[in-house]
Symmetry: C3
Subunit: 480 residues, 3 copies
């Protein structure tokens, strides 16, 4: 059965007619604002090389763990979905993999994935019928053709999407060659990097030792000495800032921070290098490094992002065969009040530091995060993240944080995605949900419509620019 | 004051007129579907013997901890409510107990109990005025009379309620005589059992040793040896399957699982039998047994249900005098991410195993359970349970699980009740709430109405049949 | 830009027209009921001395941590906001501080603070334009003038606000002189005290030793002996009851209770006095004292309130400079099920005891608190507290507790404030939110409108009077 694909202009607005009218007006003032994407995981090589994307499966399905984890949960093997394993590329025929997705679209009913996909199918590729078993081949063929045309190259899409700024995320061991190539090419698209040092901080990461060696090579520092190790961080941060970075990012299992003496920090570092360390040692080192990163941020001005609370690689069998980031990362209960205290005791009242905190544990929104951000000058709240980057998730974020932290201790939207084509769809969802939330406040006479308009624009555009220091004169020439 | 009793046809639908219209249409397509009740606690003797229920108090009040715990919380002694104690039957006159309920109906405003009761009073008994102090006797008399008529016998009600299948829950030490008698009687009602081995697994259960003896007698196994004990489980599972069982059920204090070596499991079992064991030993044994049950399910195909997180018998004084299941079980914070890992590491990627997980800790819906069920092939989410089997509770379940797990990693509704007459009321509430939730998605243009119709039918009928393997050809002849 | 200030008559009601009509009717029956304020932190000296309040900054901003913490979170130093430090009064000019607030009102969009302020500005001071940078001086001047007039003295406002009863909160070491003076003055306003013994119970409180000495002086007891210490509590409780107290209040870091033997309690007390104690000792002592307080309540009839779960003075630097209660108290995850068990095992089934429990951890509403209060005769649920005393917070409280605990295990509203002028605003918000919640139940046909009217009046007026024993014949002459 073939069904029409329609992106209703009122989608995601509250159903009540009066509230919807207000939402429509608020959304009208933000829908065409440029996209600021200050945190995400697109591949800089796309913009450096500007090569065409290969086909629908390799564009949409194989890299998107939101999609293939859902199919996997219903018993479809990853090998049939185009997902590469440690042994090499997937044995699946891309067209067959695409058909598998197409015939299981009912699994995504009520999920953000279906909204994002339909947005892309309708807005970017112009489809007017839904993806289904019947239309799988039509989709696969038309998408394949389109991708060969110049209008669907990464840079062309970047411009078409009205992206004012896009940040990627790299490891300190990345030589930033794609960012350099982009700049050398003279292309005007503003793509910057962000400093994510987890591989050289997390001693439990499978690549820790190899990353550390590479870290030493790139910086010429003795990274087996504590002072050399810290100096290497300073150098790579500076190098990242030359490629436009205004932020760092830290994806630790918990939000723990520590504030050890120099001697204790040094001894701990030596212990980690000896490889004779416990999980508690590794945790304490990650905790200490957040405080070290904060100290460096006070010097160089980089905004810190903390993304804690994911139990990575939960599925042992899958990890052994397919490696990381395969949809098997599961959120855990996360404490902030005790975890952040050492860092806050040291730097919480600094006005020159900015730390953006995220959570996968919504129970902390009203209980911990809004009260912390509503008090400490250094703290801001990142938007609803990952599993919660969804209509209901975003609504809960606003409902549970606004009354204590207000809107102005939040930082606007992050798409946080490597699904490049979904970026406009994701920002559009955020703008619609914020418009709907503000519209409810207006309809309940808790906020004037004038104030709501101003706030809507701030959430969509001004707050991310300010929070990520994107409108400040850059400290390094290259960031302009 | 006497007030009319009205069951409004639009009850529980969202108030917004447009959304309500959609909900009405969706509900229309499911309201008359047969009831599938794959998990509950009705007494098989009712259907085996088909004896009349005694009176209103003994039918509604004395066995329903939802009702008497609320009266108890306001200072009414259980002895006045018909609730039996360990010393014997209640000293209360049933009519007096009924009057006590009737004159306190305001306590139930806004609770599901009042909706369930009113549904039964109106739909099953035809009352058109509300229960109150003034109408207490009228109710007591009319219900008493009705219960003597053939139309109110258990089997007649079963048929009138349009129940396609009803599962009861029995201990391994139950000889299943009522199920056997039912089958022998030639009655066509499909009532099956389910295997709930807690009394022979939980060494802290007050009947553990006695249950174990009985377990040995029934199976002829040496249940004091580890292999004999496991073999006894296999034999009782097979016997339960002969009485139609398609599932097991496990009501542990936590969701902990373990995967011990054979030697360690055996040693632990011996320790428990020595009675010289710690609470941690008992917990580890329950954890190990979940993994053992999963292993057996891979062989015999029974679906596992895990109902963790209730702190049983919290009120020490009440437990001493009245025993278990007296409304004093309190939910606790429950971890799933670490707890389930040992079992999932062993069997999480099996396609021949199905584990349905429940929770009393709603904070785990979006954080842990939806991400786990949205990834692992073996996991499905049971519906909102116990305290959360209520309009707001069900809404939160859908709002917090759908965006990550979708609808198709859930299993439809369980009434989980021993209040037989409330079964249609409870399924009706679930169908109305799901219709309302789907209607909101349609009204917000997040789902087409066609897809919503299909999903509504799946939630009400197809998913429970599939999840509990009720439409599969049975592996044992008796289950047909 | 100057904008009109309007308090819309329908504010906070649900947007749906039909539901709003019902809410309007329900609110109509409660809006003019007298205010019962059984728990709060106003200063009894205001009513004893009836001196005029000084100016807008000292009335609104400097004492209100909701306001200045938000400004502080955005980088405004407390010294610029009129907040006194340990070193003495604030160096800020009150008018300058007021301008700082006025020009940052956008920070409060969507927060209850903005609703409360606007209510006071509009209803109490008659402003018809919003506070902003442009109107800061106008506001400061007009408020300053008004405060000098007799109509704005504390007692006149008390009467204008239609307050039937107001409870303040004092330490056992307070000599209650202001309460005595009030009574001696012949003023008819009913202002009573409440017994908050934290400073003589919490050995980690910075004033513990000094408070203990004062406690001994006031009572003439040897408070370094366990029996003398307990006797001193009994005496101060009696003295508080003479000043109208009907309740005690306990603000511990957790909800832990204990039930030690006499010998163990005595030994623990000696250890605390030796000053050679661990945090765990201090915690155990607080836990034991809750049980001791319950035992005394059984004798003297005082209602217990437990307000647990705040991590006090989280910001070490701020605490060192400005002291306690400066907006740096952060909620923590709070367990009730295990924490309350020792007290409940001892006294949970008493009908002569009443314990009102509060939480800052909303995840405990549906999981722990509603099930506990829906079972134990001694337990009632306090209203949404502190960070959750807000429109969304109150809604969540009702949505998450009503289905299990009903309305009648809750105790109506507490304003819990030291912002005297905001008391009518806060009660008005609570009445509107409850009207809106009840209206939704009526609109969804879950409650009749007659029952909703009765319930609305109970929540606004009857339940607080009953729960705090304000309509019982007093046991002491002074309480009448």
């Amino acid at each position: 059965m073939t069904r029409p694909l329609r992106l209703h202009p009122d989608r995601l607005f509250p159903a009540d007619a009066g509230t919807r009218d207000i939402a429509r007006r608020l959304y009208g003032s933000v829908k065409d604002l440029p996209i600021i994407s200050p945190h995400g995981h697109t591949d800089p090589e796309w913009f450096a090389g500007d090569a065409p994307f290969p086909d629908a499966t390799n564009l949409f399905l194989a890299p998107d763990h939101y999609l293939y984890r859902m199919l996997y949960s219903q018993g479809v093997p990853l090998d049939r979905l185009g997902v590469p394993s440690k042994a090499g590329p997937s044995p699946a025929d891309p067209r067959e993999a695409w058909r598998m997705l197409a015939s299981n679209m009912h699994l995504f009913r009520g999920t953000p994935s279906s909204m994002w996909l339909n947005h892309v199918f309708g807005e970017v590729f112009g489809f007017e019928i839904e993806l289904s078993a019947e239309t799988a081949d039509l989709y696969f063929d038309r998408i394949g053709e389109a991708l060969q045309s110049p209008a669907f190259r990464p840079r062309a899409l970047f411009e078409r999407f009205n992206i004012e700024l896009l940040a990627t995320t790299e490891s300190p061991t990345d030589d930033l060659r794609h960012h350099k190539a982009m700049r050398a090419s003279g292309w005007k698209g503003r793509v910057v990097t962000a400093y994510r040092p987890d591989p050289v901080i997390d001693a439990e990461h499978e690549d820790f030792r190899a990353s550390l060696s590479r870290f030493g090579e790139l910086t010429g520092q003795d990274v087996e000495s504590w002072s050399g190790y810290l100096q290497a961080h300073r150098m790579r941060r500076a190098a990242f800032m030359e490629m436009g970075a205004t932020s760092t990012d830290h994806g630790h299992p918990t939000a723990a921070t520590a504030d050890l003496s120099l001697a204790d920090a040094e001894a701990l570092f030596r212990k980690l290098l000896s490889a004779d360390f416990s999980p508690a040692d590794a945790e304490l080192f990650r905790a200490q490094m957040l405080t070290e990163m904060a100290r460096m941020s006070l010097d160089d001005g980089l905004v810190m992002q903390i993304h804690p609370g994911s139990f990575r690689n939960h599925n042992a069998g899958l990890f052994a065969r397919y490696g990381r980031d395969k949809g098997a990362d599961i959120p855990t209960r996360t404490d902030y009040v005790r975890a952040l205290k050492p860092l806050l005791d040291r730097f919480g009242n600094e006005r020159g530091l900015s730390v953006i905190v995220f959570t996968l544990d919504e129970s902390s929104y009203a209980r911990e995060l809004a009260p912390l951000a509503g008090h400490y000058p250094v703290l801001k709240l990142g938007p609803a993240w990952w599993f919660h980057d969804s209509p209901e998730g975003m609504r809960r974020f606003r409902e549970q944080t606004t009354e204590t932290a207000g809107f102005y201790n939040t930082v606007g939207f992050n798409d946080d995605t490597r699904a490049f084509l979904s970026i406009p769809a994701r920002h559009d969802v955020a703008r619609r949900i914020d418009a709907g939330f503000l519209a409810r406040l207006v309809a309940e006479h808790r906020l004037s419509e004038d104030d709501a308009h101003e706030t809507a624009v701030d959430l969509a555009y001004n707050l991310p620019k300010r929070a990520y220091k994107l409108d400040e004169p850059a400290r390094t020439p290259a960031a302009a």
